[in-house]
């Protein structure tokens, strides 16, 4: 009996200690980022968010001091192209992934027979686990060149030269760039949104749907007025969760974006970069900056990305939890 009582305490203490470790992990990352980013923040100032320059300066030349922080002569960093690139690719990914995921979820729950739907559901869930480096490899060596030689020119040559659509005209490049990155990210977040939405659609009780059908609604109208409103907040949560993944995705984007620093893409096909892709591709060369200023600037960029991604992620989890804990309202349109 004594041994058993000890076992009780052993479980309790070890579980408590273990659950402190994630807290310590978060504190560790935040402190490391903040400490590393501080010198860069004081020198780069607010213009870090708006400037488009990315000049490491002369890393073998004179060292200058600004606000007491040493940095190479002529160094000047601005993250606007990275921020814009991160947002642009994520928006493209969402615009593509959301309708496709909703359609897939409908096809899997309403249209296809069980023996077809089940293996496809399985396949879509597996897709979420494919390593991003493999998606990047496929994107840069197979998808990108295919789109650049067969699809992009077709679009670019036939889109009218009017304000918004002008962005789709011009040189289509070699398949590395903004649109390819957005498409790749879209493919990566479709499994997240689609499988969550499918699970949500399965939870919609049949009676309201049958009632709507009995009133003469077509299945498109049932979907629009009953099924989607029923699980709306869950769909929003899953979408925002996908957005969080798209914002932070690193390797696949680093492989297909072209990783061009210091300028925005002139059209939707051009090469660009994101915050995450910049950190992974620049850390090597940043280590050659003897003053450590380049490393510090990357920490500032990382902190910026982490804050955006975590706010998005927490918002998504709150929405999902909220939608799960409340019963769906009946008959709300």
């Amino acid at each position: 009996m004594l041994v058993r009582r000890h076992e009780d305490r052993a479980w309790r203490i070890s579980a408590r200690v273990a659950s402190l470790l994630p807290v310590a992990g978060v504190a560790f990352i935040v402190i490391v980022l903040a400490l590393k980013a501080w010198p860069a923040t004081t020198v780069n100032g607010v213009s870090f968010l708006t400037s488009s320059q990315w000049v490491p300066g002369n890393t073998y030349g004179a060292v200058v001091h600004t606000h007491g922080v040493a940095h190479p002569m002529g160094s000047s960093y601005g993250a606007w192209p990275l921020i814009a690139g991160t947002l642009e690719t994520s928006v493209i990914a969402l615009v593509i992934a959301l309708p496709i995921s909703l359609g897939t979820a409908f096809a899997l729950t309403e249209r296809l027979p069980r023996w077809v739907a089940q293996p496809i559901t399985f396949f879509v869930e597996i897709l979420a686990g494919i390593p991003s480096v493999i998606i990047g490899l496929w994107g840069v060596l197979q998808l990108g060149p295919f789109l650049a030689s067969h699809v992009y020119p077709l679009v670019a040559n036939h889109v009218p030269n009017v304000p918004v659509l002008r962005f789709f005209r011009g040189s289509t490049g070699y398949g590395e760039g903004l649109l390819t990155s957005g498409l790749i990210l879209g493919l990566m977040i479709v499994p997240i949104i689609a499988s969550t939405t499918r699970d949500l659609f399965m939870q919609v009780p049949p009676l309201p749907k049958e009632g709507a059908e009995a009133l003469g609604m077509t299945d498109a109208e049932v979907a629009r007025h009953v099924t989607i409103p029923w699980v709306r907040s869950g769909i929003i949560g899953a979408t925002v969760l996908g957005l969080g993944r798209a914002l932070g995705e690193t390797i696949a984007v680093a492989m297909v974006s072209g990783s061009i620093l210091g300028k925005l893409s002139p059209n939707i096909y051009g090469t660009m970069t994101t915050i995450a892709a910049t950190i992974v591709s620049q850390l090597d060369s940043a280590a050659t900056d003897g003053t450590g200023f380049a490393i510090s600037t990357l920490a500032e960029a990382g902190l910026l990305l982490a804050v955006i991604a975590i706010v998005v992620n927490l918002a998504a989890r709150t929405i999902v939890r909220h939608s799960a804990s409340h019963a769906a309202p009946v008959g709300r349109v």
């Binding site: 579980a15 995921s101 686990g129 494919i130």
Partner: protein
């Protein structure tokens, strides 16, 4: 009668919209399954013609040679992550599901711990890798090595394991716990003998998915594990360790055809490894669902 004549053209428009909706859903499905199949088969088809089994038994020479060191390195890293993240994640899940006191409004407790797990899940992987590089590899002078790689990857996958453990524990029927208590078991004994046993498939699923993620990650490893063409040594620090995703990432844009072969070989091994883990995890889920249905 007027109503009928007025609504007739509307009905045909509605009918058109309904069939358009059906076509769109199937098209959407095609746009998911098509590229996904192309992705998996594209990698396999380009890798298989040049595949030699000797890849698994020869050391890499960077842009040529085999991948023995990378395969062994990836497995070593996965075992390390399983030990560190597995124990921490499962215990955190137990704490969240069983031990943390519930809040006053009846919702699940463990506020700070739950928040930490959620925040951890939200960190972009490269940010974790960066922190590992500047703090563990540089500031602590561990260098590119196994220990920082395992610690950073573990931070990344602990949320998966904790979440799946928690939800597996919450699905254990209350009757089991009550039965165990009625038999006079202490809480710890019933946790080990009754609750954890019936939650085991869910926990194993979480561990397998975490392993698949750990095996397929690149960004957190590039600046913590480093790169080497030799087999892993037994030291935790100061010796770089190689892994499969590194060769995909560095060799795909090298000029030589041999480098592309290495890149695709590594990708093929990764696809097989990760898909096996994911399929097994789904089979475990399917098995448990069959069991839980027979209980009812």
């Amino acid at each position: 009668m007027t109503i009928v004549t007025q609504s007739y053209p509307k009905t045909s428009w509605r009918r058109f919209k309904a069939s358009a909706f059906r076509v769109m859903t199937l098209l959407a499905l095609l746009f998911v399954v098509g590229p996904a199949l192309w992705l998996v088969l594209g990698v396999v088809v380009r890798a298989v013609p040049n595949w030699k089994w000797s890849v698994l038994t020869t050391l890499s020479q960077g842009t040529s040679g085999g991948l023995e060191n990378a395969v062994v390195g990836t497995l070593v890293i996965m075992v390390g992550v399983l030990l560190v993240a597995g124990s921490v994640g499962v215990l955190t899940g137990i704490h969240l599901a069983e031990l943390a006191p519930a809040r006053k409004n009846g919702k699940a407790g463990g506020g700070l711990f739950r928040l930490a797990v959620d925040v951890l899940a939200g960190f972009p992987s490269i940010v974790l890798g960066y922190a590992g590089y500047v703090a563990l590899c540089v500031a602590l002078h561990w260098g590119f090595s196994l220990l920082p790689a395992i610690l950073i990857l573990s931070l990344m996958v602990v949320p998966y394991i904790a979440k799946s453990t928690e939800s597996a524990l919450r699905q254990v029927p209350t009757a089991y716990r009550e039965g165990a208590e009625a038999l006079g078991m202490t809480a710890g004994y019933s946790l080990r003998k009754v609750v954890l046993k019936s939650a085991l498939p869910g926990i194993v699923t979480g561990l397998l998915i975490a392993l698949a993620v750990a095996g397929g990650e690149t960004a957190p490893l590039l600046y913590t594990a480093g790169a080497t063409n030799s087999l892993p040594s037994w030291s935790l620090v100061h010796h770089p360790i190689s892994y499969l995703t590194y060769y995909v990432w560095t060799d795909y844009n090298q000029p030589s055809a041999q480098a592309h072969v290495v890149s695709y070989d590594a990708a093929l091994i990764l696809v097989v490894l990760v898909l096996t883990l994911l399929v097994v995890s789904r089979l475990v889920v399917a098995r448990t669902q069959r069991h839980s249905e027979s209980f009812r």
